[in-house]
Amino acid sequence: MHTNNDTVLSKLETGILGFDQIANGGVPEGRSTLISGTSGSGKTVLALQFLVTGVTNFDQNGVFVTFEESPEDLIQNVRSFGWEVRKLMDEDKIAVVDATPEPGQETIEAGAFDLSALLARIESAIRKVKAKRVILDTLGALFPQFSDSNVVRRELHRIHAGLRRLGVTTLITMERIDEEGPIGRFGVEEFVADNVILLRNRIEQEKRRRTIEILKFRGTTHQKGEYPFTIDSETGVTIIPLSAIELQQKSSGIRVSSGVAELDKMCSGGMYRDSIILVSGATGTGKTLTVTEYIKAAIDAGEKAILFGAEESREQLTRNAASWGVDFEKAEADGLLKIICRYPETMGLEDHLLQMRRDIQEFQPSRVAVDSMSAFERVSSVKSFREFVIGLTSHIKHQEITGMFTNTTAMLLGGESITETHISTITDTIILLRYVEMQGEMRRGLTVLKMRGTWHEKNIREYMIDNKGMHIKEPFRGVHGILTGTPTFTYFEERERLGGMFEK
């Protein structure tokens, strides 16, 4: 006998942003996938989105079987996402099977029974709308309706087999008690164990952080590990497929100006257009100025730029720019600049990322600046912060535009920060701004620490700030140890004198 078990399972594209990427194409087609998560983890929204997106994006009709919430409540709840389930029902694109217990009505069990009626109703609904997608939400709510959970389990087995026979792709939601531990309750995982997705909603730094993990897809591949996701009224569930992001963006050789001519020279002709520049320095060293110059370069070239402010208000940013001779207000009026100020504390980093990506998508700038990136670090764990930076970086690179992030170092002299350690590998260019204490005077030094793919000057150059902006001067001579914060002076006179001793 020949069995053909090694045929690769095909996937059904869900249309849920980011999901198909982490699922390597979608959910296993013609199979059931269990979505398990604690209360409030987003199971129902995800499942309904699968159904609605099926209709709107793929012209695949769906059946939704509800065990817990009444259809009216569900329809009402998801209206905020712009999903007009009622309308889709009227158009015979979505059919509902209401398997919720009747409130206040007692049911008496008097002998052996099965759930053939439920299966018959689901089948009839599938036939009615010619459904390709089915969701069962939330399976656990079926159990308390009957005294013997063994019977329910046995019957769910049959329904599961029935759905498979009908060739529909099913998502089954199931509530779990803890974020860790058993996948589901009532032992349902045993018959839908082929494909399991876990949703989590943990508290992290006093903020909720949602993640999705594909635990297994039998016979087919998927990305492993947890990926953050958000739920918002515009798109419903959006998954941020970080490590699944393909970091294979094309690198162009096109250069753009940093806005400071001397700095461009130090970078052998400017920044690469699709690169990320990190400007790192202590407070007051001129990071915001560097950003302003960089934005100004775009405006002068008639290109658009977005400035994300995370620490200062738009008034402050505008006033700062004006003090260096840059007119942000006019640029905004001309449609060349968009200043968006959001304090990091207002929402989770996933939401920030989603918003920023949307802003970039809408405004289509050629440059993006974030001042400061390190402000976001305050409100998150190291892991989410890194994910946030990777997510934003890859989006910017994907658009083939330039990004500049600033980073505030804790120490006035020298020093490094978590931001630097964690995101320096992601950025293409790092510019350090440092205070240098020399002969009782605070001066400022700038150096290009790294620049990917090109020669750059390695000197530490002194720079001045005045009402015309930034002016880069000569390299510091006779001093070393600036970056560590403890400069050591080598006296020219001494060296010259010693050198002279051996002449002749």
Partner: protein, 96 residues
């Protein structure tokens, strides 16, 4: 007719047949001449099952007298059926 009963079954399964048999027997012995039974095959009329939210089969629905009540199973537990149909004298213990 005092008793208006509706019995939902799925095809001619053994559960279905037993339920019909049991119901007829109980009605004949308890409420002879005072009842009306409608047997509905869910496979043929899923719409009716949908509107009455039938999940399990067999399900006996006591439409009249009110309150409406659902009794699920093959009705082999005679006492439970009588209880569901309000035919047990009040105070009668369920088990002997």
């Amino acid at each position: 007719m005092k008793y208006k009963l509706r019995l939902y079954v799925t095809g001619h399964t053994s559960h279905s047949m037993r339920a019909i048999e049991n119901l007829k027997y109980i009605c004949e012995s308890e409420i002879q001449g005072d009842y009306e039974i409608e047997v509905i095959d869910v496979l043929e009329r899923p719409g009716l099952a949908e509107s009455e939210k039938i999940i399990a089969t067999p399900t006996l629905v006591k439409k009249l007298p009110e309150p409406v009540r659902k009794i699920i199973g093959d009705l082999s537990d005679r006492e439970k059926v009588l209880l569901g149909l309000d035919l047990l004298p009040t105070g009668t213990p369920l088990t002997k």
